[in-house]
Amino acid sequence: MITVNFPAALHPVAGPSLVVRESVSTIGQLIQAMDRLAPGIARELDDPLYNIAINDEILLHSVDARGVKDGDVVEVIPSMAGG
């Protein structure tokens, strides 16, 4: 079971969080599993605004191939620049 938390902007599509019980081993597989639970979320996440963190470790590259395991907490985090 992997818990995925979303920022407010994605709540209309996926709610505040999703619990993925399907067996997955990578972030790429996780996103597809999430899309089955919340259709459209994969398309939303194909957006440079959003980064993904696993257990508070933010991923900056090679995301889809990154491993996930049962019990992980994944978070979608808007990333931008400020002034």
């Binding site: 920022p7 407010a8 902007a9 994605l10 194909d46 957006d47 440079p48 605004l49 959003y50 980064n51 993904i52 963190a53 508070d56 470790e57 933010i58 991923l59 900056l60 590259h61 090679s62 995301v63 889809d64 985090i77 808007p78 990333s79 931008m80 620049a81 400020g82 002034g83």
Partner: protein, 659 residues
């Protein structure tokens, strides 16, 4: 154009202005062009002319054309606060006309850093200045007493400003609105200084609204040195005569803005504090003067939600990215409500000073807005002092008995007011990064100064990890500032994981690895070019392509709207060259001010101390790798090994400047 005389000795500002005026056209060179107003504040005399077409084609307007005026009028044998050093305001070629193009720059020789001063702000003044018929203001000479300059329907007058002396931003804006009968954001705008500017505080800005500020480099102190308290524009908004109808294409730009995810899902709802969380998770959140790199989740953006009653925006901008704040009576005084904070202020007055309460950050933000203090430089200055105190390099003997303890928000509030009035230890802090040079701190304090070219870091992000970011901070012409060239998209995984798209964005391959030095110079070069173009047409950085998204308006949209508005035709490549030219002229000015390759560098801490936390723990800047990256940056930027334009290009630039 006639060739200007060569200034080989002291030449007064009036002689320089007279020479320049003799070369400048007396008529607009293209539809929508406004005049340049030269103002001798000592004599209360004005003159007008128009920026030559050749300058516009080389540097565009706004920041770019400001550099033309600075290059021609600067006497580097003087000092920045000499009234013979001009203060220049300039609005972009599209300012006031195009959605999200509400910006202008003010330019001079920085009293804070010693290099160029070039600060950008929005709100309403840059647009309303144009609606009064002026694209640029060139101010020089010292007024005999505090003066308010009024521009009503394009007519300039000077009024006694002594009744406003000693007022900070909130009370001054109330007073001017009452006295003039004008209405902010409807028919009136103002730029002004506060007590900090009057007192020559080197971190003081020029306020352009309740929060908007020409912040970086000490412009408030510079304006104060001219005896000018404020400039007020009063006029009805008006239509510009343009080369062709431009409003249909405005709709295209507005739709593009509002459809972009970063606008729709972040800027319009919460604003820039979103960046805090990725920075702290990355271990890149400058904390306690960058001794540490992560901080409490208690300052994540969502914790500001209860204190954000709404959003505001600049003139005719559909984005409305400026968060308002309300502390709901927690501190029942005039600092209970305000505008902001932005991410920079959150970082500088949160982790960088060891503060962990949202309410404290908001209150200090509101005080800085009233006192007219640049939160980036002020936060940097305070953090430097606090670390020196922590290390015993300065003691209560230096601070007149004050204990500087991280996280002491009440002490920081007290210090802000002392800075603005140069009272006690506030006089030391008011000298910003020059505290060693001015004899306040011992030389060893320099080891802990987080600054480049004399300017404290703007963005609180610790760039030991991200190498394009680090290079950008090193080469930025106004000092250590991310808004000149930050390759922000290097933190966006979806961009890094699409190498072909990333190469298209930056004009060539750029490594996907955040910590790699490979080809990062390309990303910085591309960003510096497009941001300089954005500044010169008046577009907001937040909504310029590459800063926050690959989907926002860029060269293509600027080119199309320049054609509609001005009738001037540019290719994308020509516009990009204009961006490069702006950087080139800025480097020519900085070279006259003594800047060399050694000044395109980073704080010692980032070379010498490994990042202490996060997934990139241990990362730092390798001196040899950095130096090689800098050389590659110079090469693709057509710069010599000392960081100035190569000979042929330098001749072209100098020729275009008429110098």
């Amino acid at each position: 154009m006639t060739m200007a005389q060569s200034y080989t000795g002291p030449v007064s500002i009036r002689a320089r202005v007279e020479q320049l005026l003799s070369e400048m056209p007396r008529e607009a060179q293209f539809p929508s062009q406004g005049a340049t107003l030269f103002v001798d504040l000592e004599r209360r005399e004005t003159a007008t002319a128009f920026t030559p077409l050749g300058v516009t084609r080389t540097l565009l307007g706004g920041r770019g054309a400001n550099m033309y005026y600075l290059y021609r009028l600067l006497d580097e044998t003087l000092s920045p606060l000499d009234p013979n050093i001009p203060l220049i305001f300039g609005s972009g070629l599209l300012t006031g006309l195009v959605p999200s193009a509400a910006r202008g720059n003010c330019t001079s020789w920085s009293p804070e850093s010693g290099v160029i001063l070039d600060a950008n702000a929005g709100d309403y003044f840059p647009s309303f200045l144009r609606m009064n018929g002026f694209d640029h203001l060139v101010l020089y000479g010292k007024a005999a007493a505090w003066t308010m300059m009024m521009i009503r329907e394009g007519v300039v007058s000077f009024e006694d400003g002594t009744r406003y002396a000693g007022l900070d931003n909130i009370d001054l804006r109330d007073g001017v609105a009452n006295d003039t009968g004008g209405k902010w954001a409807r028919n009136m705008a103002m730029v002004n200084i506060t007590r900090a500017g009057e007192n020559g505080v080197l971190t003081s800005g020029i306020m352009a609204g309740p929060k908007a500020i020409y912040a970086r480099g000490g412009p408030g102190a510079k304006m104060g040195s001219l005896g000018l308290k404020g400039i007020v524009t009063i006029a009805q908004t008006r239509e510009f005569p343009t080369a062709q109808p431009y409003k249909p294409y405005n709709r295209v730009i507005a739709q593009k803005l509002l459809a972009t995810s970063v606008v729709k899902n972040a800027l319009s709802t919460t604003g820039t504090p979103f960046l805090y969380k990725p920075s702290r998770l990355l271990g890149a959140m400058g904390t306690k003067n960058n001794q540490e790199t992560t901080w409490t989740e208690g300052l994540d953006a969502q914790h500001f939600d209860p204190f954000r009653p709404g959003m505001e925006g600049c003139f005719r901008c559909p984005v409305n990215c400026r968060p308002l704040n309300d502390l709901h009576g927690a501190t029942p005084d005039k600092y209970d409500k305000g505008d902001g904070p932005e991410y920079v202020t959150l970082g500088k007055f949160g982790p960088n000073l060891g503060i962990d309460r949202v309410e404290s950050v908001i209150r200090l933000n509101n005080i800085c807005n009233d006192l007219g203090l640049d939160t980036a430089s002020t936060g940097s200055t305070l953090a430097w002092a606090f670390e020196l105190f922590q290390r015993g390099i300065i003691t209560t003997a230096h601070t007149a008995g004050l204990e500087l303890q991280w996280g002491d928000a009440a002490m920081i509030e007290r210090l802000l007011f002392m800075m603005a009035t140069r009272e006690g230890f506030g006089n030391v802090l008011a000298d910003s990064m020059r505290a060693v040079e001015n004899g306040h701190y011992p030389p060893e304090a320099m080891k802990y100064r987080i600054a480049v070219k004399g300017l404290g870091q703007s963005d609180p992000h610790d760039a030991r990890i991200l190498k394009a970011f680090a290079l950008g901070l090193a080469v930025a012409t106004r000092g250590m500032d991310h808004l000149r060239n930050r390759a922000t998209l290097e933190i966006n995984a979806r961009i890094n994981d699409n190498p072909a798209f990333k190469a298209e964005l930056y004009g060539g391959t750029v490594s996907a690895e955040p910590t790699s030095y490979d080809q990062k110079e390309r990303a910085v070069r591309a960003c510096e070019n497009i941001y300089a173009v954005g500044d010169s047409v008046g577009m907001c950085r937040f909504t310029t392509k590459l800063f926050n998204s690959p989907s926002l308006p860029g060269l293509e949209e600027f080119r199309n709207q320049l054609s509609n508005v001005t009738g001037l035709q540019f290719t994308n490549e020509e516009l990009e060259q204009c961006g490069l030219n702006v950087m080139g002229v800025e480097r020519l000015v900085n070279h006259r001010l003594g800047m060399r390759r050694k000044d395109d560098t980073l704080p010692d801490r980032w070379f010498d101390e490994p990042n202490p936390s996060g997934p990139y723990q241990g990362e730092k800047i390798d001196r040899a790798e950095f130096d090689a990256m800098l050389s590659r940056f110079y090469e693709i930027s057509r710069l010599t090994s000392d960081g100035v334009p190569q000979d042929q290009w330098r001749k072209e630039l100098v020729g275009a400047l008429g110098a």
